[in-house]
Symmetry: C2
Subunit: 334 residues, 2 copies
């Protein structure tokens, strides 16, 4: 089958079109005919991972939409021909290939109202946003209307932020303040429903004060956390909760969070798959709920850039855009 592989040599790593062996389903696997994929920072991280001496070419990519082509002997929730979407597991080969294996517990039917590329934009970043808000910070899903408490989304215009804003605005009673540093990213956040947008390149506390929201109950930090740490400690309300996704580049002074009895969580979308946790099937549940909300018109796809078919040339373009860290929404191929 066709695939885009990453080959490491003395001068670095390169993406190449290649022909690789068709994989065989394990008992819980779906073999999916991949129709569209999206790119994520994890691709760049995995591309940099030091290869083993005898390494075979690797396949990146952990965000896919496609059709079930074959099923493992113990698969019970899916049949051949089902339209599905998923992020999968970083412990297995990625989805930048014609066919791809994934454990059915990580998969759900794709939203019926979306095209392949619109669907492929969603899984990884939506799972991260959903788990961060509802599993890690345990923000109640309700709509009391009052919006008394606030959520600050740092880096609101990226893939995770674009879904987190929508989830918080549509499914919770939080007042949602996003951060963005450019006019187009600011407009993007407002179009997704953010109640206010502030600039994360300037101190946060005075901007929040000017909004009449000097303290926030929740912070979803989608940027590197050490750069904004003391600012976040200042703006969090007593008993507030901060959730971060990106590894800290410098030590985080946890004592700054102590007087207000604050909580900090890491959200890692791959934790369930990496540790094969008992609640692994929770990702199927989230993707199902997400698809329903999309089909009901409550949530929108975060697709922003459709670059072309899945091949080495388009993936290199996608990864170059991603590495600049200025993209809005999601980059999709298919």
């Amino acid at each position: 089958m066709k695939a885009v592989v990453i080959r490491c040599n003395a001068s670095g790593a390169a993406l190449q079109d290649a022909e690789i062996e068709m994989p065989a389903c394990g008992p819980n696997d779906l073999c999916v005919a991949v129709q569209a994929v999206s790119v994520n920072p994890i691709d760049l991280k995995m591309a940099r991972a030091k290869p083993a001496a005898d390494e075979k070419p690797r396949v990146l990519g952990w965000d896919a939409a496609g059709t079930v082509h074959a099923v493992g002997s113990e698969v019970k929730d899916f049949s051949i021909g089902d339209r599905v979407y998923y992020a999968g597991s970083v412990l297995r080969p990625g989805c930048f290939s014609e066919f791809h294996l994934v454990d059915e517990r990580l998969v759900a039917p794709a939203p019926r109202s979306l095209s392949w590329v619109e669907a492929a934009a969603l899984p990884l970043s939506s799972l991260a946003a959903w788990e961060a808000l509802f599993d890690r910070m345990r923000i109640p899903q309700r709509s009391a209307g009052a919006r008394a408490k606030a959520l600050l989304v740092l880096g609101g215009a990226g893939g995770v932020g674009s879904m987190a804003i929508q989830l918080a605005v549509q499914l919770t009673d939080l007042h949602v303040v996003a951060t963005a540093s450019r006019i187009e990213s600011r407009d993007h956040c407002l179009a997704l429903g953010a109640h206010a947008v502030i600039d994360h390149t300037a101190p946060l506390a005075p901007q929040l004060k000017a909004l009449g929201r000097p303290q926030v109950a929740y912070v979803l930090c989608l940027t590197e956390p050490s750069a904004v740490w003391s600012d976040l400690a200042t703006v969090l309300a007593p008993f507030g909760h901060l959730c971060a996704l990106v590894e800290a580049a410098a030590p985080l002074d946890m004592n700054l969070l102590r007087a207000k009895s604050l909580s900090f969580s890491w959200e890692g979308m791959f934790t369930r798959a990496m540790f094969k946790t008992a609640d692994m099937v929770g990702q199927q549940d989230i993707l199902r709920q997400l698809a329903q909300a999309v089909d009901a018109g409550v949530l929108k796809t975060t697709l922003k850039h459709h670059l072309g078919p899945v091949d080495a040339r388009h993936l290199m373009h996608a990864h170059a855009l991603l590495a600049m860290r200025r993209t809005i929404g999601k980059i999709v191929l298919g």
Copy 2:
């Protein structure tokens, strides 16, 4: 009225018996005739606080049981003569005095089945244990019997630990592993119901493995956290939650918690009172539930050392014992 005050001079701070002015109730205050008090690490911390140049003698002590002697104009939950217990607020003078003012939202009726000294042992440390388990880590209060998940209580024999063990054993379905480093502290933890006790002066992971509990869902860290940090990161299960009370003496490498999507919370018993949070009255609720559980025979007082009446001599003795960090349960005067 009589009080024990702390006076700072060139050679340090000293506790002295003194006669000070009787305080006048604010609208939400109870004036309590203090019958018994207990000592806590916060006393030592507040004693070390740098005094203002013109400082008046200060009163320490934030754990009391006594009788309501007078009430403020807006008090609605208490009447003169009520038997009460509470921790109070570090922003106000402490309770090592004949009479003491406290906001009624932080107070509850004392357990009927306990003596004054037995009751005074409870408030501060029980509030900390309760808030850590049920508010910060949000451990469900239920008893399914299975005890599939485990809680590790680091420093199980101290004041907070002695109540945390009981709360977890009696009110949750967790398997409770406490740590202790001496025979008497180990026996104390087992007598409170801990299902197992390990030694926190040795690596934790192999000891938990030997117990058949290699991973724990929750850690309540009642000792200085940086000393055991990498051990805790190792033994926490994916999506596990760690709650700490004591300021970190060295940076905590938060990245160690990332792969497993772990959560970290600070528990500060005085956060509600210090920030006058909207849920300040939650401490009254907790102390009420605690008193009911004590009167129902579900929880026991953590009183271990009754040193004598509240005076400078006995308080100096109590603080000296506390500073050694080897006491089991609570030290009470009254």
